[in-house]
């Protein structure tokens, strides 16, 4: 095996065993890019999720975002569907993270940020939804694993507790106790693929977990409140390849139950997990299409350059 050839990217397959392509024979160096992509097409046996399983959750309609008077996202329109993973790719500064953060109105905490255009969640404009309610329905996982300084159990239960419920209300129902929360917490931890590793001791401090486990705990936390959309902002960029693979596996298996948008710098990751890919450049949406379209037959010259450059 030539050490310079990047490992071939392939789709994550859910139930079938995964087969690793032999590296394209005799091709070394920059030219190796094209056959590697071709190899993906050949291997991609998973196919699209069938139309019946895919439901549109969010619609982004000509959204533009600015910090002060500097535009960072211009006129982007995209659908976000449950049953598939949408990957936002592009170079640094292309506005993908800003676009992602605008979906749960997290951009609003940045002073001077403004937005134009329409974003809807299940047909309802996100401005019209109370912001904390919106963020329970559209949850987010960040680049750095950031569990809170409490136990594993409490980290997930934190998302479930309604802290700001009216005092009168809380008195009537009592503060939700551990027993009441336990099934939901365990379910979330299981869906994030962490349960087997922590089942024996959910009361361990979360900060004692490894980086990859912490990030899966963050995913569990984000899943706990039963969101409709899960936003992932480069969730694996601080992790090692094995943790990354575990999380990617979870992402793919979660897409049936929650719409997923993932921002990634890692094109191979986008190829492994995404069904649809949106390529952004300098705040503009250059190309949007299925993973195959974007990676194998990019329509735009800039997409071709970006993908080719990253592989070459």
């Amino acid at each position: 095996m030539t050490p310079l050839t990047p490992p071939p990217a392939r789709r994550i397959q859910l139930r079938e065993p995964t087969v690793i392509d032999p590296p394209p024979g005799g091709v070394v160096g920059p030219a190796a890019g094209a056959p590697a992509i071709g190899g993906v097409a050949a291997r991609n046996g998973r196919g699209r999720a069938s139309a019946a399983q895919v439901t549109e959750r969010m619609r982004i309609e000509s959204v533009s975002l600015a910090y002060g008077d500097k535009w960072v996202v211009r006129d982007v329109s995209l659908p976000v569907r449950q049953g598939e993973v949408l990957a936002l790719i592009g170079a640094s500064g292309s506005g993908k993270t800003t676009l992602l953060r605008s979906l749960n109105r997290l951009t609003e905490i940045t002073a001077g940020a403004s937005r134009a255009g329409r974003v809807t969640l299940d047909g309802e404009e996100i401005e019209r939804i109370e912001v904390n309610e919106l963020r329970r329905r559209i949850s987010m996982v960040f680049q750095q694993p950031n569990p809170f300084p409490m136990s594993i159990f409490e980290n997930v239960a934190y998302a479930l507790r309604e802290e700001h419920a009216a005092r009168r209300d809380r008195k009537r129902r009592g503060r939700r106790g551990r027993q009441e929360l336990e099934p939901a917490v365990i379910d979330a931890v299981r869906r994030a693929g962490l349960y087997d590793e922590v089942a024996d001791d959910l009361d361990r401090p979360a900060l004692r977990l490894s980086g990859g486990q912490q990030q899966r705990l963050c995913i569990a936390r984000a899943l706990a409140a039963g969101p409709e959309v899960l936003l992932l902002d480069e969730p694996c960029s601080a992790l090692d390849p094995i943790s990354t693979a575990t999380i990617e596996q979870q992402i793919v298996s979660l897409r049936e139950s929650v719409a997923i948008v993932i921002v990634t710098h890692n094109l191979q990751q986008a190829m492994r997990v995404a069904d649809h890919v949106a390529f952004m450049h300098l705040g503009e949406l250059v190309e949007y299409g299925t993973s195959e379209q974007v990676f194998e037959h990019p329509a735009m010259e800039r997409t071709r350059e970006y993908i080719g450059g990253a592989f070459g």
Binding site: L106, R135, M140, F142, N146, L231
Partner: protein, 327 residues
């Protein structure tokens, strides 16, 4: 580390090198002098600290009798008849407790406001320089100011009022309140610095779960900075326990706890007393009590109390932090 050779022919170094290759003899002479001075400064400080503790321990223990800890002081021209210093010990704990009970919540609140809200910016700057001003004010100035304020008739409930209607202004409450000003800047500083070190994405992670700012502060940020709050409190306690000026001016420095009369606990809080610092000052060769042996014994007790309190607070906060995994 790495004792077993991984592959044949790869041997571990025969002898682990104990000195860095970069020997000081290759340094320019200015750097060498600075290096020696750094060492000297560190070791010198260590020696001074050890000297203080050892000297006070020897002096203190030789004069310390258990009876001193349980007897109240008595006014006497001769130190054989002047009793112990139970009241000053109680006074020390009481003033420190009042000061910290007031300062801790206020200090944490100010730090949270400055770090998490801090708007309008002008007000934040004003608060910041206010805290700095208090930190820089000599305690004797604070004490005089306190005497002025607490002698006003609308604050008479904090101390005693003489038959003629003059408000005394001196009591555990007034001294404790002014003492809290010594601790607040230290608690604000420690808490604020720790809050500033929490990365923004941790706050965002909480907001992204649909949590309000208040919930985020209460459930995520404050638990994260608990060790720092504790060390701020420890520093503040050290300032309060060690202060003499405020005790002499605002606590009356009466030999015993002199209650103000009325409800039992309130009586003491509104009454006067002294602490170990003022006791040491009065009885030292420089003071009027003329009981230097008791001054040494009391000074040693004071030192032990400070060291013990520091250890307890740090231990408590570490236990909490360990349970949270922040340590």
């Amino acid at each position: 580390m790495a004792t077993a050779p991984v592959a044949a022919g790869l041997k571990p170094p025969a002898k682990p090198r104990s000195k860095p290759r970069d020997s000081i003899s290759s340094w320019p002479w200015t750097d060498r002098i600075a290096y020696v001075l750094c060492w000297a400064a560190g070791i010198g400080l260590c020696l001074i600290a050890a000297w203080i503790v050892l000297y006070m321990a020897i002096k203190g223990i030789s004069y310390l009798k258990p009876s001193l800890l349980v007897q109240s002081p008595v006014g006497s021209p001769d130190q054989s008849g002047s009793g112990g210093f139970l009241d000053p010990i109680e006074g020390t704990f009481l003033v420190t407790a009042i000061g910290i009970v007031v300062a801790a919540p206020l200090g944490v609140a100010v730090a949270v406001w400055l770090s998490e809200f801090g708007r309008p910016a002008g007000l934040a700057r004003a608060v910041e320089s206010g805290v700095e001003t208090i930190a820089g004010t000599p305690s004797v100035v604070l004490a005089i100011f306190g005497l002025l304020i607490f002698s006003k008739s609308f604050l008479a409930f904090l101390s005693q009022t003489s038959a003629g209607g003059a408000v005394f202004g001196r009591s555990f409450l007034t001294a404790g309140l002014i003492m809290s000003l010594l601790a607040i800047p230290l608690i604000v500083g420690a808490t604020r610095e720790a809050l500033a070190q929490i990365p923004a994405h941790v706050r965002e992670a909480s907001y992204a779960l649909g949590k309000t700012k208040a919930t985020t502060i209460r459930r995520v940020l404050l638990p994260s900075v608990r060790p720092s709050i504790a060390s701020g409190i420890t520093l503040g306690m050290g300032r309060i326990i060690g202060d003499t000026a405020i005790i002499v001016i605002l606590l009356g420095a009466s030999l015993r706890l002199e209650g103000a009369g009325g409800a039992p606990i309130l009586s003491i809080l509104r009454g006067t007393g002294s602490t170990l610092t003022s006791y040491v000052k009065e009885n030292s060769p420089a003071g009027e009590g003329n009981a230097p042996q008791k001054a040494y014994a009391a000074a040693f007790v004071l030192l032990v109390i400070v060291i013990a309190l520091n250890a307890i607070v740090m231990r408590l906060s570490r236990a909490g932090a360990r349970a949270d995994g922040t340590l």
